[in-house]
């Protein structure tokens, strides 16, 4: 009998641990005041903040001062969240998701299905907060309706270990590097130390495709899709092959460069702000954060805009609006920066007591945006459900040319055909560095 109850207890304990560990949703936030006045509880679904610590920061710190209807913050991988939103949109009845926080490009997939309300009125209400106009325009997807309102932003830049600075090629300014100088730098480190210290985020969940789309291609060719197999593109790929010679051959296992940077496996690399912050916070005195390099066509960098949209099936639209108002408050935007390293979209005065690592990031972001030759590109726009295949075609190009050492022009021709088919299948118009097009964007 005693044995039985002990077993039952062990089972219950194990089940509790499992349920707690597996659940991605925490205790609902807010609702401190009478929930009845605020309307139905709802889910705030997002593709952002999926690491456990970021989730906890969101629920316990960023949403701490929120007073509205009870909100359950849910985050997961992109397909899970997008499928859930689109499933609720398809069902038509009132769903559970009251507010969605997605990347610009992730909204695009759902806009065609008419999943979101027009929130122009909410955007107008926040006019004096000076959200940049081009970000608001992005949120309209070429129409009149405001599909989302910008929530926070991020970008990619370069981090270098201070140990690497002594090998900087002569005449190179670390804050205004070119790709040629970066290659020379990595080569110099290899020549002097025998070690390959550049890193690419090449693991299956690394963001290499963003570096190619927003940095390498536009900086060398001034375009992406239109210039995919151009002579300029071939030059770029040959440079990448050169850089690969001095890159850590274990790069194919790097998802986030902060880990190999912190362990010393690599000294140089370009990655997303949120994938570099840990090393900058942990060792702010050992690293410098600098703008991404420039190519022959300029210092292109990618701006990642995360927006807030209200699904048509939202169970509490008033509540969702109140949550948007809260998230766009300057105080909330600063907490979001402090806790989860995403940068404000509204006009805020940066606090003077910012964490050292965050300060490094903030400075690098500003330096990059204010470089003389800086040019900004958005994440790919309008790809919708084709986004994954487009990214694959781009990453496959890198793997074939750089890692597998296949012939540059052959690969470019073959991969360009795949990209053209993707553009045609989805009737996807040109965006960003490629300019505009009336029909599907064409590889020249």
């Amino acid at each position: 009998m005693r044995g039985m109850s002990a077993r039952a207890f062990a089972f219950a304990a194990a089940a509790t641990i499992l349920v707690t560990a597996c659940s991605t949703t925490g205790t609902p936030s807010g609702g401190g005041t009478t929930a009845g006045d605020q309307g139905n509880p709802f889910v705030f679904a997002s593709t952002q903040f999926s690491p456990v610590t970021e989730q906890e920061n969101m629920r316990k710190k960023i949403l701490a001062a929120y007073q509205g209807a009870s909100v359950d913050f849910v985050t997961d991988q992109e397909p899970v969240i997008l499928d859930r939103i689109s499933a609720e949109a398809k069902s038509g009845a009132a769903g559970q998701i009251g507010l969605a926080g997605l990347e610009n490009g992730q909204f695009a997939a759902l806009v065609a299905a008419g999943a979101f309300d027009d929130i122009t009125k909410i955007a107008d209400k926040h006019k004096d907060q000076k959200i940049p106009q081009d970000m608001l325009t992005l949120g309209k997807f070429g129409g009149n309706a405001q599909v989302y309102i910008p929530w926070m932003q991020a970008t990619y830049f370069m981090v270098a270990s201070k140990q690497a600075l002594q090998y900087l090629p002569t005449g190179a300014d670390v804050n205004a590097l070119t790709y040629q100088q970066t290659i020379a730098w990595a080569k110099n480190i290899f020549d002097k130390t025998g070690q390959k210290k550049f890193g690419f985020p090449l693991a299956t969940d690394g963001l290499i495709h963003r570096l190619i789309q927003g940095y390498f291609y536009p900086s060398y060719t001034g375009g992406l899709v239109t210039t995919y197999k151009s002579a300029d593109a071939a030059t770029m790929w040959n440079d990448m092959k050169e850089l690969w010679k001095y890159s850590n051959p274990q790069s194919t296992t790097y998802a986030r460069l902060q880990e190999p940077l912190q362990s010393g496996d690599i000294w140089l690399g370009i990655d997303h702000v949120a994938r570099l912050i840990d090393v900058l916070k942990a060792k702010p005195d050992d690293f410098v954060a600098v703008p991404a390099p420039a190519g022959p066509k300029g210092r292109y960098y990618m701006s990642v805009v995360i927006g807030l949209g209200i699904p048509k099936t939202s169970p509490n639209k008033g509540g969702a609006e109140a949550l948007i108002d809260y998230l766009l408050k300057p105080e909330t935007q600063i907490i979001t920066l402090r806790e989860n390293s995403f940068f404000p979209v509204v006009d805020v005065k940066m606090p003077s007591d910012l964490n050292k690592g965050l300060q490094l990031e903030a400075d690098a972001v500003a330096k990059q945006a204010n470089s003389k030759d800086a040019k900004v590109v958005p994440l790919p726009v309008g790809l919708g459900s084709k986004g994954g295949e487009f990214n694959k075609a781009i990453t496959d190009t890198f793997v074939r040319i750089v890692v597998k050492n296949e012939a540059v022009q052959t690969v470019l021709n073959e991969q360009a055909a795949i990209i053209q088919k993707t553009m045609n299948d989805g009737n996807i118009k040109c965006w960003g560095p490629d300019g505009t097009s009336t029909g599907a964007c064409q590889v020249k």
């Binding site: 991988q77 397909p79 090449l202 693991a203 299956t204 690394g206 850590n248 051959p249 274990q250 790069s251 194919t252 296992t253 790097y254 998802a255 190999p260 362990s263 010393g264 496996d265 459900s385 084709k386 986004g387 994954g388 295949e389 990214n391 694959k392 990453t395 496959d396 793997v399 074939r400 890692v403 299948d425």
Partner: protein, 286 residues
């Protein structure tokens, strides 16, 4: 004369199993088959399979999946058999061994992959141990993209560590089913331990070995989390491609085509096992 209830009872008892299999296995399987031959615009097509075959990773994924299968399954069966015989010899403290062997069963495959990444990575436990022992001066890049043998060995070690216990549990159950009389009879005829194992234990263990082989092969076809963690983009496998095409590339049709290939391979392997290790009528009756 049987009553009505008696006649229907077996079917009633089978009903939950049938419902379970239909809901969770048969229906999704049919859906996957349909998805793999459906065009995005609707209508039947073989384009998804063409696209799968033309993909840069397809031939590598085939090769890697079969290679891992050939390396991992026999290794695990032999290891598990040795461990099972060891435990079944009931030496002092054999229970503790069983518990230690079974620990990896409780760890998810991705967690196991990450654990072994911490061992094999550039500044991992293996390199730091070797370095402090003075065996190497510089860290060895076991998982470098051009070190195929290194990556493959790391995956085989990690997978063997993770899933051998599964085979072990099945074999121990099989060993315990063998009646003691057989061993007594063997002893009576003067068989030593080796002959007893070869002539009595192994033949009687065949049904368990068959189940273990089938289950382990199915899992080997599904392996990808450990591979992803240790090899990143370097080592595409069929199941991993199915996942990537669904989750990352967002094309469920090509993903389903890969799933159908995995299903076909699994079916072929199982039929082969049933044929080769097939139980004769007499053995079943016994």
């Amino acid at each position: 004369m049987r009553t009505r209830t008696e006649r229907f009872l077996p079917f009633a008892l089978l009903l939950p199993t049938i419902a379970f299999l239909t809901l969770l296995i048969v229906i999704p399987m049919v859906q996957a088959l349909l998805l793999s031959v459906m065009a995005e615009s609707g209508g039947l097509t073989l384009d998804n399979f063409r696209r799968m075959v033309a993909d840069v990773n397809f031939s590598d994924a085939w090769r890697n999946t079969l290679l891992l299968l050939i390396l991992i399954v026999p290794l695990q069966i032999v290891l598990a058999l040795v461990m099972a015989l060891l435990i079944n010899s009931r030496f002092r403290g054999h229970g503790i061994f069983l518990y230690i062997y079974a620990i990896p069963l409780a760890i998810s495959d991705l967690a196991a992959g990450i654990l072994w990444l911490a061992v094999f990575t550039e500044r991992g436990y293996l390199n730091s141990t070797l370095q402090s022992a003075g065996v190497i001066d510089q860290p060895v890049l076991w998982l470098s993209f051009d070190n195929f043998a290194g990556i493959l060995s790391a995956i085989v070690i990690a997978e063997s560590w993770r899933a051998t216990a599964l085979v072990l549990v099945i074999l121990i159950a099989g060993l315990q089913l063998i009646p003691r009389d057989f061993f007594e009879a063997a002893d009576l005829f003067g068989a030593n331990r080796l002959r007893r194992t070869v002539h009595v234990v192994l033949p009687l263990l065949r049904p368990s070995l068959q189940s273990a082989l089938i289950i382990r092969t199915i899992f080997a076809f599904q392996t990808f989390a450990v591979v992803f963690a240790l090899a990143g983009r370097n080592m595409p496998v069929l199941a991993g491609e199915a996942y990537t095409w669904y989750a990352t590339n967002r094309n469920e049709h090509v993903a389903a085509a890969y799933a159908v290939v995995v299903l076909g391979l699994t079916a072929v392997a199982i039929v082969a096992y049933l044929r080769v290790l097939g139980l004769r009528e007499a053995e079943v009756q016994r």
